[in-house]
C-alpha cells in the first residue's frame, strides 16, 4: 500500500454506521425519485426535526429494489440495518411512530408493514435477513457490493468501502501484467459484445505515444435497460477507478465518460466524483504520488441512440453528428480526434477493480466458459418485482424472471421475453429456461445485449412489438447509409400496413428480403434493425401469419384489427367512459342506452378498461371464408 493511499484511507475513517444515534439511509436515485423519494426525504427531515429525534440522515444510491421504492434503511446503534419500502411520503408519520417514536414517546407499532429485510447475516426482531428475500437471495453482488450502502457523493465513504485499493495496486504493476490479469480473469465487454477487455486493451497498449484516450460508453440508450445509470448514481468511484486502471494498463493518460443526456443525475454524480477524486490525487497528473497521469472528463450527450455505437460515440465527442463510421480503422488505431482510443461499457470498467484486487481465479468462480463473472441485469415489464440484480453469467433466465422477479403479476402466464434492447429481438416463453450467457441467445437469433430483460404477457403482441422496435430503429438511424434508413422505413411501412389489416401473403417473404438487405448496412444499428421482426417470424410465426393472412391480432393489441362494441348499453360505468372518451365516440345516455360510434372510435380501449363487463373487444374483419384465401 502506497503512503499516499494509506493516508487517504486513514483520513476517510471507518465505514459509516450508527454509533451513538440512529442512521437513516434514504435511496435517492432517478428510480426512487420517480416513486417520490424526494418527497419522502423532505417529510422525513421535517418530521424527525419536529419530533426532536437525533437521527443522522444520509442519501445513498440504490440497492436495486426498484419495485419497493422509495426505500429507506434504518440502523440503530449496535443493531443491524433494516431495509424498508415502499415508504411514500404519506406514510412517513406512521412509519416514524412505529420505528423511532419521538423525544417524548417510545416507538410503538409494527414496522413489518414496510420491512423488506435485514441487511446482515441474520434476522432481527422478527424481520428476516435480505438473503431470505426471493429478490435478493440468488444474487451474487460483487460490483453492486456498495450500491445503496454508501453516499455516492462522498469520496470518504467510497474509500472506506475499499475503493481505489485496486488502483493503488495497479500503480505497482507493469501495464502488460494488468492487461494479462484482466484477460486471464475473462472480464468481457458488458455492453453485449463480450470481447475480452484485457485483449482489447493490448491493442491500445501497442499504439505509440501517450496521446491515447480511454473512453467510457455510458450512453445507455437501450430503452428498458438501466444498469449503467444505477451504477453511476450509486457507486461512481468504482467506474472511475476501473477507468484509471485501464489507463495505467494501456498508457492512456486521458479519459472521457460519455453519458447520455437522459441521465442528468448520473452526469452530476460522476462529475462530483471526478472532481473529488482529482482533488485527492486519485486522478490527474500524479496518481497517488506515483508520477503517472490519468485525467478524466465527463461529457454529456445530447439525445441520440446511435451514439451508443462506439464510432458514433467518438464522432459525437468530436462535436459532430453522432454518425457511426465503417471499421476498420478500429478506435485503437484511429479513435477520438484521430488518436488511438479504447471504448468499454460502464459496467465493464466496474468489474475491473474487483478482478484486479482478488485475482483471476476469484473472478472466474462465477460465470461460464464463454462469459466469466457476474452480470448486472435490469428486469422489468409485466413483472412483479422490477429492479436491478447481479447474478452469475449462466444463471437460468427462468430463475431470474420467475423467482427473483416474481413472474407476471397476478400469476398470469408469460408470453415472451424481450432481451437486449431494441436491437435484441424477441423470445417466446418456451425459451425462459435459457442460460444467461451469450451463446444460447445468439443461437436463437437474439442478443443478450447490455442486460435489459423485459417480460411480457398475453396482452402484448409480437407484431406490434416488432413494429415498435422498427419504428425506434427508423427514428434513430443516423441517416448516412441508404440501406439502413431506407430499410428501416420499409419495415415500418410493411408492419404498419399489416397491423392495419393490409397484410399480403407475400409480405412474409418480403420481410425476409428487407432483413437480408439490411445486413449490408454500414454499422450494427442497421444490421440489427431487423432482429425484432426476424425473431417474431421465428418465435411467434403463427401469430405473425394470423396478422398477415387472417387480419387477426390474437392479443387484441393491434388497434387496426379490433373493434370495441357496447354489449350492455345501460351499464352505469359507461357514463364516465363517455366523459373521458378522447374522441367523444360514445353516444347516447343512461335512459336511451349508450353505443360507440365506430367511425369516431380510435380503439384506445379506455371504455373497455372502465366498463369491462359492458364493452366487448372484437375482431374488426370478418372471418375469412378459408384461411389464406
Amino acid at each position: 500500500m502506497s503512503a499516499a493511499y494509506e493516508s487517504l484511507r486513514a483520513a476517510a475513517g471507518p465505514p459509516r454506521e450508527a454509533r451513538d444515534r440512529p442512521l437513516l439511509r434514504v435511496d435517492l436515485t432517478t428510480s426512487s425519485v420517480a416513486a417520490g423519494a424526494d418527497l419522502t426525504l423532505s417529510r422525513l427531515r421535517e418530521s424527525i426535526a419536529a419530533r426532536g429525534l437525533g437521527v443522522e440522515i444520509v442519501r445513498v444510491g440504490s440497492l436495486g429494489l426498484s419495485f419497493a421504492e422509495p426505500t429507506v434503511e434504518l440502523q440503530r446503534p449496535g443493531r443491524l440495518p433494516v431495509v424498508y419500502g415502499p415508504l411514500p411520503a404519506g406514510e412517513v408519520e406512521d412509519f416514524l411512530d412505529a420505528v423511532l417514536g419521538s423525544a417524548d414517546a417510545a416507538p410503538g407499532g409494527d414496522d413489518r408493514r414496510w420491512a423488506i429485510g435485514v441487511r446482515g447475516p441474520d434476522g432481527q426482531d422478527g424481520v428476516p435477513p435480505l438473503s431470505a428475500h426471493p429478490f435478493w437471495g440468488p444474487q451474487q453482488r460483487r460490483v453492486m457490493e456498495l450500491m445503496g450502502v454508501i453516499d455516492p457523493e462522498s469520496l470518504s465513504e467510497a474509500l472506506a468501502g475499499g475503493r481505489y485499493a485496486a488502483l493503488d495496486r495497479a500503480l505497482g504493476m507493469d501495464p502488460m501484467a494488468i492487461c494479462d490479469l484482466i484477460e486471464a480473469a475473462g472480464v468481457g465487454g458488458r455492453g453485449g459484445g463480450g470481447f475480452p477487455a484485457g485483449r482489447k486493451w493490448k491493442f491500445l497498449l501497442g499504439a505509440p505515444g501517450p496521446d491515447k484516450y480511454m473512453l467510457c460508453n455510458a450512453d445507455e440508450g437501450d430503452p428498458g435497460a438501466f444498469v449503467n445509470r444505477i451504477l453511476m448514481e450509486s457507486d461512481p468511484h468504482l467506474v472511475i477507478e476501473g477507468m484509471a486502471i485501464a489507463g495505467l494498463a494501456t498508457g492512456a493518460e486521458r479519459g472521457v465518460v460519455y453519458i447520455r443526456d437522459e441521465y442528468p443525475l448520473s452526469v452530476a454524480r460522476m462529475r462530483r466524483a471526478v472532481d473529488d477524486a482529482a482533488a485527492a490525487g486519485l486522478l490527474g497528473g500524479d496518481l497517488l504520488g506515483s508520477g503517472r497521469a490519468f485525467r478524466l472528463e465527463v461529457v454529456r450527450g445530447a439525445g441520440s441512440y446511435v451514439c451508443g455505437e462506439e464510432t458514433g460515440l467518438i464522432a459525437s465527442l468530436e462535436g459532430l453528428r453522432g454518425m457511426p463510421k465503417i471499421r476498420p480503422p478500429f478506435p485503437a488505431q484511429r479513435g477520438v480526434f484521430g488518436l488511438p482510443s479504447n471504448v468499454n461499457n460502464t459496467e465493464t470498467y466496474a468489474h475491473v477493480p474487483p478482478a484486479l484486487l482478488h485475482g483471476a481465479d476469484w473472478y472466474r468462480e462465477f460465470g461460464t466458459e464463454a462469459d466469466a463473472g457476474t452480470k448486472m441485469f435490469s428486469i422489468g415489464g409485466a413483472l412483479r418485482r422490477t429492479g436491478i440484480v447481479e447474478v452469475p453469467f449462466g444463471s437460468s433466465m427462468r430463475e431470474l424472471l420467475e423467482e427473483i422477479g416474481g413472474g407476471v403479476p397476478g400469476g398470469g402466464a408469460a408470453k415472451g421475453i424481450q432481451p437486449g434492447g431494441p436491437l435484441g429481438g424477441l423470445l417466446n416463453a418456451g425459451d425462459l429456461g435459457l442460460d444467461l450467457e451469450r451463446p444460447p441467445f445468439t443461437e436463437r437469433g437474439v442478443l443478450l445485449g447490455s442486460g435489459g430483460l423485459i417480460l411480457f404477457d398475453e396482452r402484448a403482441c409480437a407484431v406490434d412489438l416488432a413494429l415498435y422496435f422498427s419504428e425506434f430503429c427508423e427514428d434513430e438511424s443516423c441517416g448516412r447509409c441508404t440501406t439502413c434508413h431506407g430499410g428501416s422505413q420499409r419495415l415500418v411501412e410493411m408492419l404498419g400496413r399489416i397491423t392495419r389489416g393490409g397484410g399480403r401473403a407475400a409480405d412474409l417473404e418480403r420481410l425476409g428480403v428487407v432483413d437480408r438487405t439490411l445486413q449490408n448496412a454500414n454499422c450494427l444499428h442497421g444490421q440489427f434493425t431487423p432482429y425484432a421482426i426476424r425473431a417474431a417470424l421465428r418465435h411467434f410465426r403463427e401469430e405473425v401469419e394470423r396478422h398477415v393472412l387472417e387480419r387477426r391480432c390474437p392479443a387484441r393489441a393491434c388497434r387496426g384489427l379490433i373493434r370495441h362494441r357496447v354489449t350492455d348499453p345501460s351499464e352505469p360505468a359507461l357514463a364516465e367512459a363517455a366523459a373521458l372518451c378522447p374522441t367523444g365516440a360514445i353516444g347516447g345516455d343512461a335512459a336511451s342506452g349508450r353505443a360507440i360510434d365506430d367511425a369516431a372510435c380510435v380503439q384506445c380501449g379506455l371504455c373497455a378498461e372502465l366498463a369491462p363487463a359492458a364493452v366487448a373487444v372484437e375482431d374488426r374483419f370478418p372471418v375469412p371464408a378459408a384461411a389464406g384465401a
Binding site: V33, D38, G221, P223, E262, S378, T386, L580, P582
Partner: protein, 151 residues
C-alpha cells in the same frame, strides 16, 4: 427541459465566428433530439416511449393524450400553453406506463388516468396543481430536471 439561446435562425452567427460552414453547425444542431431551434412550452408533458411502457399499454396512452390535448406527439397545444413531447426511456420502468409532467414522473397510469390528466391540462390547470413540483424544487441537489431558461 433545458433551453439556452438560439431562437429561429439566429444560430447562423456562430459558423462565421467559428470559421466553419453553416452546415457544420446546422447538422449537429438538428441531429440530436435535445438541441432545439424553438423553446419548449412552460408546461411540458413528456410521454415515455420505452418498451416496458409499450407492453403495458403506453401506445394507447399516447393516443389518448394526443386526441384529448389536440396535438400530436412532438407538438405544442393551442397557444403553446402546453406541449406533448416524446421522452426516451430513463429506466424508471417500475413506474410504467408513465409520463412526466415538467419532469415529475406520473407513473402506473391507467388509460382513464391518462384521459383525466389530459383533460385537466386541456382545461387550463397548471402543472403545479396536478402534481408535486419537480424534484429540483424540493431540494434535491444536483438537479434532476432543468427548467426553461430565458434565452
Amino acid at each position: 427541459m433545458s433551453w439556452a439561446g438560439c431562437r429561429g435562425r439566429r444560430w447562423r452567427w456562430s459558423p462565421r465566428r467559428l470559421g466553419i460552414s453553416e452546415a457544420q453547425v446546422y447538422g449537429p444542431a438538428t441531429f440530436y433530439s435535445e438541441f432545439r431551434l424553438t423553446p419548449p412550452p412552460a408546461t411540458l408533458l413528456t410521454w415515455c416511449s420505452g418498451p416496458t411502457c409499450r407492453v403495458l399499454g403506453g401506445e394507447r396512452i399516447k393516443l389518448i393524450l394526443e386526441e384529448t390535448l389536440g396535438c400530436r406527439l412532438g407538438e405544442n397545444g393551442p397557444g403553446d400553453a402546453y406541449g406533448l413531447w416524446l421522452g426516451q426511456c430513463n429506466g424508471t420502468c417500475e413506474q410504467a406506463p408513465q409520463v412526466w409532467l415538467n419532469g415529475r414522473v406520473l407513473g402506473k397510469l391507467s388509460l382513464a388516468g391518462a384521459a383525466r390528466l389530459a383533460q385537466r391540462l386541456r382545461d387550463g390547470e397548471t402543472a403545479g396543481a396536478i402534481a408535486p413540483a419537480p424534484p429540483e424544487a424540493v431540494e434535491i441537489q444536483p438537479a434532476l430536471v432543468r427548467r426553461p431558461e430565458t434565452p
